[in-house]
């Protein structure tokens, strides 16, 4: 534990980060180690290539999207706070954490989790998942045997289910409504090692 504190002091703004994300000191230290390990050339930030070097991630069909989510702001570098902030989306929702009425919602709240997924679909950032965007994701996620025609009909149907205003695209509100029954808090959470 002594080492935790000493490492923690090396991380800039660790306190604010913990406040913001809800990670414990041990989490932060652990993530910092990981961050350093990913940063192979010791350049002090991460770039998409660093993520691409993760072997298991390369086998993930939607890895490009996910990596893209880390660099959503358009820049090619990722510093530690942003790294932690993204990962904080996936912290389990804890009930006992006091909710500060002044502060915005926690990063790991339901709607933020949803927003994260939504952004994965919505590549052109127009606030809507168009048919084309959905098709792209589906194409990467479905196996090869599924033909293009079938893909399209799946996409059509998916949009139809969610599309309330019949503009042939899914807005975030529609997306949230269609996922109402899904236990997002549970499904979009991983346990971070202490």
């Amino acid at each position: 534990m002594g080492s935790t504190n000493s490492t923690l002091s090396k991380i800039p703004n660790a306190g604010d980060l913990m406040q913001e994300t809800g990670f414990s000191p041990a989490h932060i230290v652990r993530l910092y180690d990981r961050y350093k390990a990913l940063d192979k050339d010791k350049k002090g930030h991460l770039c998409p290539q660093d993520f691409g070097a993760i072997k298991e991630l390369a086998m993930n069909p939607i890895s490009d999207r996910i990596i893209g989510a880390f660099f959503s702001s358009g820049q090619e570098v990722l510093d530690f706070p942003s790294f932690v902030r993204i990962l904080a989306h996936f912290r389990p929702v804890d009930k006992n954490r006091p909710k500060d009425p002044n502060s915005p919602e926690h990063i790991n709240s339901r709607s933020n989790k949803l927003k994260f997924i939504f952004q994965l679909y919505d590549q052109d950032k127009d606030g809507k998942i168009s048919r084309q965007e959905l098709l792209q994701v589906l194409r990467t996620m479905l196996e090869k045997q599924v033909t293009e025609e079938q893909l399209e009909s799946i996409a059509d149907r998916t949009i139809q289910e969610a599309d309330l205003d019949r503009d042939d695209a899914i807005s975030f509100d529609e997306f949230r409504k269609s996922m109402e029954k899904v236990n997002i808090e549970h499904k979009m959470s991983i346990r971070f090692l202490r």
Binding site: I66, L87, I117, M141, R157, Q160, M179, M188, I190, R191
Partner: protein, 850 residues
């Protein structure tokens, strides 16, 4: 309600009659043969004593009771038990607050009373041997086979902790506490030692899957809670039996011979028995999966292999003195996926239904016999202290065990189990027939107080099943336990679920943690590369994509919904009409997701499109492909096909069955098809002509209604065909796919003929009467439609009220696998048929059944 109460009254009479039959037979039996009177229902014994000693003349008819005695009694009891279940189901008022299992036990009391009243002794009781060899295996196989695998394996750790540690804790705590109380003098003078108490504790430790499922499926708790209780109850049965055997060995060894070495041996044997049993189950699962790769050649008995091998896995484990329950559980759990992929869909359906029939059937019998057994003066030994203390300890330690273990588990869980769920879980610790079976198989020479133990076990069972079962529903309501919400399957959810899995796995990779998602993914990859290659047919391996199959399933559901909706309006012929129905149509579009592609092409407003062209256009676009590729994959589809078929071809089906042992198909001669077809054509042409020739509409009003139902009734197919063109894709598809099925099964003449008629229908018939649609809708159409709404679909309408709902229940991943009861009832003809399909198999089983 009136018809129900009438029916239930009738059944009561029937039931009493049946019970009297049973007892009167017994009286005959007992008067003639005193010594075999004590033998009971299940004894497969040799009671075929020769009654005809010498014949003086050739008898024409003889009374051969002793030849049929045993099987006759068995069959009669089965019938009586099942009638009890039917009664329990029919009394909807009673059922709303009484769990079915409790009702069955109570009717068992009544039946036992009747038998006792007639015989002055209990001649029927649940014998452990029959219970463990003939009643239990199919129930366990059923639960294993229908286990929601993903849920089960993702909670396996927690389930194992509860099943192993929790059970040991219960056994030890109850045993030791009772012993302590005994030493303290709370129960008078008994010939019973610590080991016996521990043995008793171990047999009472098991939460009974039969009782738990029976109660919990009526309550519909959330899925995690369900799988915890259910999985625990299933696995801890195995654990209990093992524990029981270990303590039994200790008891027979005698207290003074037990040293550290023996105890260690006991612990080792515990693990060997448990894991060995599971291993046997997995081996048999692999065997089944491999076998089903090739059984397509003997499709008609294909389904039987599952049952035979499943039963063999039970017996093999029993033979090797490993845990039979665990063996058959894991056999079912492991083989289900591959079996479903390998076998023909018909066989899959047959397995499903047959499994449910056996499992529900024997479950019913177990409960009834638990009740019957109680009415016996021989076993009742009262010892207030012992009984009450046992009840108390069983309840209290269950609570303590669950709370403690969940507290530990919660520290490692993403989403902790809440206090309310823990209460329900503890309260769901129902004891059942396994405990009784174990108690009844105690050895009286070594355990002097066997009867007291049986009495206590029975009281614990009644207390937990009846009282706790009774209060469970109010408790769940009162505590506001998270229920499972009946959701409709949505494609978007499924798509996103898949996306979540990928995202989570990616996040674990990025944050450098090897977690659950890593394991599941690793297993999936391993399974995809090696196991499926080994255990699945090449055809089945193709197109296994999950999302796609969901999509397909949804499409099918929509199609069926569409048909049923339309049938409510009388017939699908309304699609031929123009203006009036368009509004309806658009309304339907909302729920029929795929249809729009087709519909937009169809342009119903004009109705000018040639139907043939429509068929040609739309079929390849969506549905035909799906069917070509996916036919093997979809398990549920068969149900869908079945339903459709029932709606459409009912009249034909009822009459023309040809008996063949190896082929099950509806035969119909070519001539008949031709005849029906021509008659249709003629009537169609006539009506068309008269419409065209400008006969006054008034005349037709009188004329047509007579004709229309007439030709519709004459054969189911006409309705089908007239429905076909406007949304020909689905309809056409099902029939086509259906004939392809039977072609698969063994290329029957009937199926190829049917296929012939279809193409013919599509080609010939349509031009003949499609012009009718060009003409403005004649006034009689509406009237005719109103008429047909009664005529052709009466049979279908009988099924209408529940068919759409059923389909919804079919579709989602089934969590409570027993909850198909109502579904089974609703779809009764399907059950009949699947049992008809394999006439040999059930009869064989029945022979060995008891």
């Amino acid at each position: 309600m009136a018809p129900y109460s009438q029916l239930s009254f009738l059944l009561t009479v029937l039931l009493i009659f049946g019970a009297l039959c049973v007892t009167s037979k017994v009286q005959i039996q007992s008067s003639s043969e005193r010594q075999s009177a004590s033998s009971n229902t299940g004894s497969t014994g040799e009671s075929t004593s020769n009654s005809s000693a010498s014949i003086t003349t050739v008898p024409i008819v003889t009374w051969k009771w002793h030849h049929v005695e045993t099987p006759y009694l068995v069959a009669l009891w089965i019938l009586v038990c099942w009638l009890c279940k039917l009664m329990a189901q029919l009394n909807s008022k009673l059922k709303s607050f009484f769990p079915e299992s409790a009702l069955l036990i109570i009717s068992g009391f009544i039946l036992g009373g009747i038998v006792w009243g007639a015989d002055k002794a209990q001649t029927f009781k649940l014998v452990p041997r029959n219970f463990f060899y003939f009643l239990l295996p199919q129930i366990i196989l059923d639960t294993g086979y229908f286990m929601p695998n993903k849920l089960f394996f993702s909670n396996l750790g927690a389930i194992l902790v509860h099943a192993v540690i929790g059970t040991c804790w219960n056994a030890a705590a109850v045993g030791i506490s009772l012993w302590g109380c005994y030493l303290g003098g709370a129960m008078g003078n008994l010939q019973i030692g610590l080991l016996q108490f521990l043995l008793f504790g171990s047999l009472l430790a098991a939460v009974d899957p039969v009782a738990v499922i029976a109660v919990f499926e009526e309550v519909h708790v959330n899925e995690v809670l369900f799988i915890w209780v259910f999985g625990e109850s299933l696995l801890n049965d195995g654990v209990t039996v093992v524990l029981y055997n270990v303590f039994d060995a200790f008891v027979s060894l005698g207290g003074e011979k037990i040293n550290a070495g023996e105890i260690i041996k006991g612990i080792v044997s515990f693990f060997v028995v448990a894991f060995g049993g599971s291993l046997i189950g997995v081996v048999f699962a692999i065997l089944i999966s491999l076998l089903t790769k090739y059984t397509g050649k003997v499709q008609i008995i294909e389904a039987g292999f599952i049952f035979v091998l499943g039963y063999l896995s039970y017996l093999t484990a029993e033979m090797l003195s490993l845990s039979a329950i665990l063996s058959v559980t894991f056999c079912g759990v492991c083989c289900q996926k591959y079996v479903n992929a390998n076998m023909d869909e018909k066989s899959v359906t047959a397995v499903r239904y047959a499994m449910k029939v056996f499992a529900n059937g024997s479950e019913t019998m177990i409960f009834v016999f638990l009740g019957v057994t109680a009415i016996d003066t021989d076993i009742w030994v009262w010892n207030t202290g012992f009984i009450l203390l046992t009840l108390l300890f069983v309840l209290v330690y269950r609570f303590m065990g669950v709370f403690f273990l969940t507290w530990i588990l919660n520290r490692y869980r993403l989403v902790p189990i809440e206090l309310i769920d823990q209460i329900v879980m503890s309260f769901g610790g129902l004891r059942g027939a396994v405990a009784y079976g174990l108690a009844a198989s105690l050895d009286e020479t070594r355990i002097k107080e066997k009867n007291l133990m049986i009495t206590t076990t029975l009281i614990v069972v009644y207390f937990t099943v009846i009282l706790q079962g009774l209060t469970m529903k109010p408790l769940v309501k009162w505590l506001k336990v998270k229920r499972v919400s009946p959701t409709e399957l949505k494609l978007i959810e499924k798509v996103n679920n898949r996306a979540f899995e990928h995202i989570l796995a990616a996040m674990e990779d990025i944050s450098g943690r090897i977690g659950d998602n890593w394991w599941t993914r690793g297993w999936k990859r391993f399974e995809d590369t090696y196991i499926t290659w080994f255990l699945m047919k090449p055809e089945a391996r193709k197109n296994r994509d999950y999302l796609f199959s969901i999509f397909h399933k949804l499409n099918l559901e929509d199609a069926i919904n569409y048909v049923t909706e339309a049938e409510k309006r009388g017939s699908l012929a309304f699609l031929n009409q123009t203006d009036g129905t368009i509004v309806n149509f658009e309304k339907k579009l909302r729920f029929s997701g795929v249809m729009p592609d087709i519909m937009s092409e169809l342009d119903f407003g004009n109705n000018n499109v040639q139907p043939t062209s429509v068929i040609q256009d739309t079929v390849p676009s969506v549905s035909l492909n799906i069917h070509e590729h996916e036919m093997k994959r979809m398990n549920e589809d068969f149900n869908a096909h079945h339903l459709l078929q029932q709606h459409l071809y009912r009249s034909r089906k009822n009459h023309r069955h040809k008996y063949s042992r190896s082929n099950f198909s509806i035969n119909q001669s070519e001539d008949e098809v031709q005849e029906i077809f021509q008659r249709t054509m003629r009537s169609r042409l006539e009506s068309f002509k008269s419409a065209k020739m400008g006969v006054t509409p008034a005349k037709k009003i009188t004329k047509h209604p007579k004709k229309d139902p007439n030709h519709k009734m004459s054969n189911g197919k006409t309705t089908d065909k007239s429905k076909k063109h406007p949304y020909g894709d689905e309809d056409f598809e099902f029939s086509e796919a259906d004939s392809a099925y039977s072609g698969d099964g063994g290329a029957t003449g009937g199926s190829s003929q049917r296929r012939g008629t279809y193409t013919m229908g599509a080609g010939v018939e349509n031009p003949a009467f499609m012009p009718e649609m060009d003409t403005p809708p004649p006034p009689w159409v509406t009237e005719a439609e109103a008429d047909t709404s009664v005529a052709p679909s009466q049979g279908a309408q009988r099924y209408l009220p529940w068919s759409p709902r059923n389909l919804h229940r079919l579709a989602p991943l089934r969590i409570s696998d027993r909850s198909t009861d109502s579904f089974l009832m609703a779809d009764a003809p399907a059950t009949e048929e699947s049992s008809e399909e394999s006439p040999q198999q059930p009869s064989q089983r029945d022979g060995t059944h008891m």
